[in-house]
């Protein structure tokens, strides 16, 4: 085995080194040149190893490298006699495959690792790039490189496939693409890694199956066949999902009607009705039209007074905790967030690093860190002390940052490098803070901090502008929001039910909006009753598409939720309650549809299999598989079943298996070869059909 590994590695190593060189250049380019450092970057564009161009390069580059190395290992040797030369050695064919796999993995690592390690070193070393990095930001690139390995395995499986249809040949490549989409869409690195590992195992088994199938279709080990069948299933599912999406996009959309309360610029409280996001009516709260002039709708709705949420509750939390925001491993904002990027007058950029709970500023042209922002204010780069654990950057106005903790609220100016403490009193807990726009002010903002009894409004330099006492029972209506009119004479304070209340209860509760002067005098208080819940009916084609989902997945999800809920997972328990509670009619309907569709397709599978003269065992197994997997399973069956070759029976003319000695229809054997007078045998020949035929 060592010899084959050495031979395989030797044959691919130069290619791997060449690819490594190209891959390194391709990765360094976006890192240093594509994201130009003189302009600010954003969390959405990504930094360093989360730069969108860099991720594209690693995603497609790794896939390309995987494909090239995989095909290079197989195709030059796939010539029938060359392949026979390779395999005709005293070892099982699996040893050859395993050796190729080991050598190929080594070559793949050699091709992708140097660039990755170099980039990792550069982004983590100060002075090379104009943005901070934390090691976890490399996870997305690691996932991409793992994804590239799927393409390597897919290339092996595709290259090893013997005399099979092009469709069947392409299945592993489709699964590799599915793997790429999984890892790009996954929230967590662990999800991406496990998904990739799962598909890698399937593709490895599929390669094994292809190797054995090319030699002896009927004698492949069951595990390799199972892997190939699952590859077929996932490929069919992926292609099905793709075409379903295209189909849904092509179908006319169901109209969606929504209603919501708005406060117009003149202070009027109205209900705005939208159909497919286009305003169709603006009415007073009593239902009379505010205006029927449709040309005014756009202007009126563009200048409504937006209310920014300041708190989720005031006072007792009743056990409620803010939900953990999705830590999407491929987004820069999971690890750090850019601060006041566009507002800083010098080419500086500031980043809030979640891990160290400090902010750090960079001078972009010099690619140097210039200062840090800490509880002590602005300090030299190396003299940082982290903020308390629950400190948050709540809002940004110009180059001013609003940061809050349990008792602390402060405004920090990046330009002047000064911090103004708004409140730091242990007896006055801060329940939330946010910034909000001043209408028609070209983006100017104010800061709001929610205390137990009032809402404090600050200007961006930290000057207290107003103190607005609460007028509602904030122990229940503690989700407070705030807005202001253009000349800052009227503040609008919204009171929504606190987050700790159950959703069902919150939906029944009214909300309030107060119009308050800068001095805290309440001018009006409006009670907003809950609006009727808008529903949109599901179009019939959605049901049709859902009918072909895998019942295993559908019922398996319910079972997973049940087990998870019983083990204490509240999220899963909640999902199950929803599926069996308010959504029970839909759940039941879909479940029944899936069962009916699967049973019908399993029956069809049995019929097709028997018609194609698969033996009973194979027909039964395939029918069972389709019963569990529905339409994608049927497609996999069609592509992957070992359809026996057939030809017309010389006796009755109906199709019969070539590998069987007798015709199932008329019982005739194969036509005996007539001996002809030119035959020359110096010893007697065995009679025709003297031995039982082989079966497959």
């Amino acid at each position: 085995m060592k010899s084959i590994i050495w031979k395989e590695f030797r044959e691919t190593v130069w290619w791997a080194l060449l690819l490594a060189l190209i891959f390194t250049v391709a990765q360094l380019y976006p890192l240093f040149f594509a994201s130009t450092y003189v302009y600010a970057v954003s969390s959405y564009q990504g930094f360093g190893m989360l730069d969108s161009t860099y991720l594209l390069v690693t995603l497609f580059g790794a896939a390309g490298i995987g494909l090239i190395l995989g095909f290079l290992q197989i195709l030059p040797e796939r010539n029938a006699d060359r392949w026979a030369t390779l395999l005709h050695r005293p070892m099982p064919p699996e040893t050859v495959l395993l050796s190729k796999l080991i050598a190929g993995t080594g070559a793949y690592v050699l091709a992708v690792a140097p660039a990755f390690l170099l980039v990792l070193y550069l982004v983590l070393t100060p002075g090379f790039t104009a943005y901070p990095s934390v090691p976890e930001m490399a996870l997305a690139a690691v996932a991409n490189l793992l994804g590239g390995f799927l393409y390597y395995l897919a290339a092996l499986a595709t290259g090893l496939a013997g005399r099979v249809s092009v469709m069947r040949r392409l299945l592993p490549l489709v699964v590799a693409m599915l793997g790429s989409s999984w890892l790009v869409e996954a929230d967590y690195f662990s999800t991406a890694a496990w998904g990739t590992l799962f598909l890698a195992v399937l593709l490895g088994l599929s390669a094994w199956s292809a190797l054995r199938h090319a030699q002896s279709p009927s004698r492949s080990p069951w595990m390799s066949r199972a892997g190939a069948v699952l590859v077929g299933f996932y490929a069919a599912s992926a292609v099905g999902a793709f075409f379903s999406t295209l189909f849904v996009m092509a179908m006319p959309k169901t109209p969606y009607v929504s209603q919501r309360y708005e406060t117009l610029a003149d202070g009027a409280e109205v209900i705005v009705t939208r159909r497919n996001n286009i305003t169709t009516a603006i009415d007073h709260l009593d239902g009379t039209p505010y205006t029927t002039d449709q040309s005014q709708f756009a202007k009126l709705t563009e200048s409504t007074i937006g209310l920014s949420r300041v708190s989720s509750y005031i006072g007792e939390a009743h056990g409620w905790k803010p939900g953990q925001s999705r830590r999407y491993y491929r987004r820069a904002y999971t690890y750090l967030q850019e601060l006041a990027s566009a507002q800083v007058p010098v080419p500086q950029q500031w980043f809030w690093i979640r891990e160290t709970r400090t902010a750090i500023g960079y001078e972009l042209p010099a690619k140097q860190a210039i200062a840090r922002f800490t509880p002590q204010g602005f300090v030299p780069v190396d003299d940082a002390k982290p903020f308390p654990e629950d400190m948050k950057v709540r809002g940004i106005s110009g180059e001013q940052l609003l940061v809050t903790g349990p008792h602390l609220a402060a405004v920090a100016s990046i330009v002047s490098r000064k911090m103004a403490v708004l409140t730091d009193d242990a007896t006055q807990p801060v329940y939330g803070a946010d910034d909000f726009y001043i209408p028609s002010s070209r983006g100017k903002r104010l800061f709001a901090v929610a205390f137990a009894g009032h809402l404090s409004i600050y200007e961006k330099n930290g000057t207290l502008l107003a103190q607005l006492p609460y007028t509602q029972d904030v122990s229940r209506w503690g989700r407070v929001s705030v807005g202001v009119n253009a000349d800052q004479t009227r503040f609008y304070v919204g009171y929504n039910p606190s987050r700790f209340l159950p959703v069902s209860e919150r939906r029944q509760m009214p909300t309030f909006v107060d119009q308050v002067t800068q001095e805290g005098e309440v001018l009006t208080s409006t009670r907003r009753l809950p609006l009727p819940k808008q529903t949109s009916s599901k179009p019939i084609y959605r049901y049709v598409l859902e009918t072909f989902e895998s019942p295993t997945y559908f019922f398996g999800t319910l079972l997973y939720q049940k087990i998870g809920g019983d083990l204490g997972d509240k999220r899963l328990a909640k999902l199950l309650r929803a599926a069996l509670g308010p959504y029970w009619p839909s759940t039941r309907f879909k479940g029944i549809l899936l069962v009916i569709a699967s049973v019908l397709l399993a029956g069809l599978t049995w019929w097709l299999a028997r018609r194609g003269e698969l033996d009973r065992k194979a027909a039964r197994n395939w029918a069972l598989f389709v019963l569990l997997t529905n339409l994608p399973g049927l497609v996999a069956f069609w592509l992957l079943a070992n359809w026996p070759p057939r030809a017309p029976c010389p006796s009755c003319g109906r199709l019969r298996r070539l590998d069987q000695p007798t015709c199932p229809h008329c019982g005739a054997g194969w036509e005996n070869l007539p001996s002809h007078p030119a035959e020359i045998f110096d010893r007697p020949q065995e009679p025709n059909n003297a031995t039982p035929a082989s079966t497959s």
Partner: protein, 306 residues
């Protein structure tokens, strides 16, 4: 004596295309078998099936007593296989090729390897990618013979080689027969080579086996008669075993398989001025046997047209 190779009613299809039909062949241990036939009649497919690289559609094949579909690595070690094309890893030197191959075979005989490569004037440091076709064939043969296989299967080993290389190849191939109970099955289109080394031949003709005999027996049972006439000769009569006939201005050439007294009598009934049998070389016999049967008329037609 036991059979080293047993092909039992082998039928092979690729899709709907029949490649080999109902082939039965037993190759006794210790024999050298020439496997002959025109291009595309299924020789390579049969060999590949025999070595387990293809699955029979019907029937079965055995080699060294083991079903070809389940050859154990130990059994495979006892079988030498040289496919046409003489594939070598071009980046290896001759010595590296030997070392690489030796790592798989516990009974590797380095002396044989060195003897064969020197027979082909190869040196260990030569790069395999720089070898001529004949030298490459020599290297491949050395790699195949050095494990001292009990059964040697060669698929058109002399294809494209010059006469010297062919002779070297044959000599090296025969070297394996110095030990008892060694068997060789080789396919070839070079009948002089076959005649030189083979004990027996098997001929595939249009997917089926038509000949399985010693070379002498084959030649004895194939006969050409030259019939001379005073005038333009008549067409050859419908005879059992008639392979081909050809008429010139005053002569009729008739090639027959398994001629007997009846066929001779039928030919004499044409009243030729003279009739004499001609002994055919193996090559002529083979060409007559596997070529297009019936009367060859194209030449006379051309003359007539002129």
């Amino acid at each position: 004596m036991s059979d080293a190779i047993v092909i039992d009613h082998l039928t092979k299809y690729y899709g709907q295309r029949e490649i080999v039909r109902d082939l039965c062949l037993r190759i006794p241990t210790g024999s050298i078998y020439g496997f002959l036939g025109r291009n595309g009649v299924g020789k390579t497919t049969t060999i590949r099936t025999l070595l387990g690289f293809e699955e029979p559609t019907r029937g079965s094949t055995q080699i060294l007593g083991e079903d070809s579909r389940h050859l154990k690595p130990e059994t495979r070690a006892r079988i030498g296989y040289l496919p046409e094309g003489h594939f070598v890893y071009r980046w290896m030197t001759v010595a590296e090729c030997g070392k690489f191959q030796a790592s798989f075979f516990p009974d590797w005989n380095q002396e044989i390897f060195e003897a064969v490569i020197s027979h082909f004037r190869l040196t260990p440091k030569m790069k395999a990618g720089h070898l001529s076709r004949g030298q490459r064939a020599g290297l491949c043969l050395a790699l195949t013979l050095a494990p001292e296989p009990e059964v040697l299967v060669l698929d058109d080993p002399a294809l494209g080689l010059d006469p010297v290389a062919r002779r070297n190849l044959l000599q090296s191939m025969l070297y394996i027969m110095r030990k008892p109970d060694r068997t060789i099955l080789f396919s070839s289109h070079l009948l002089s080579d076959v005649e030189r080394v083979a004990d027996r031949i098997a001929i595939l003709d249009g997917t089926t086996l038509s000949v399985d005999s010693t070379i002498e027996y084959f030649r004895e049972h194939l006969c050409q008669y030259v019939l001379r006439f005073e005038q333009t000769p008549p067409a050859a009569p419908e005879l059992d075993g008639l392979l081909e006939s050809f008429r010139s201005d005053r002569e009729l050439f008739v090639t027959l398989a398994n001629p007997d007294d009846k066929t001779e009598a039928a030919l004499r009934a044409l009243n030729p001025k003279s009739m004499e049998p001609v002994e055919l070389s193996l090559e002529d016999a083979f060409i007559s046997y596997v070529g297009d049967h019936g009367e060859k008329t194209f030449f006379t037609k051309d003359l007539g047209a002129a």
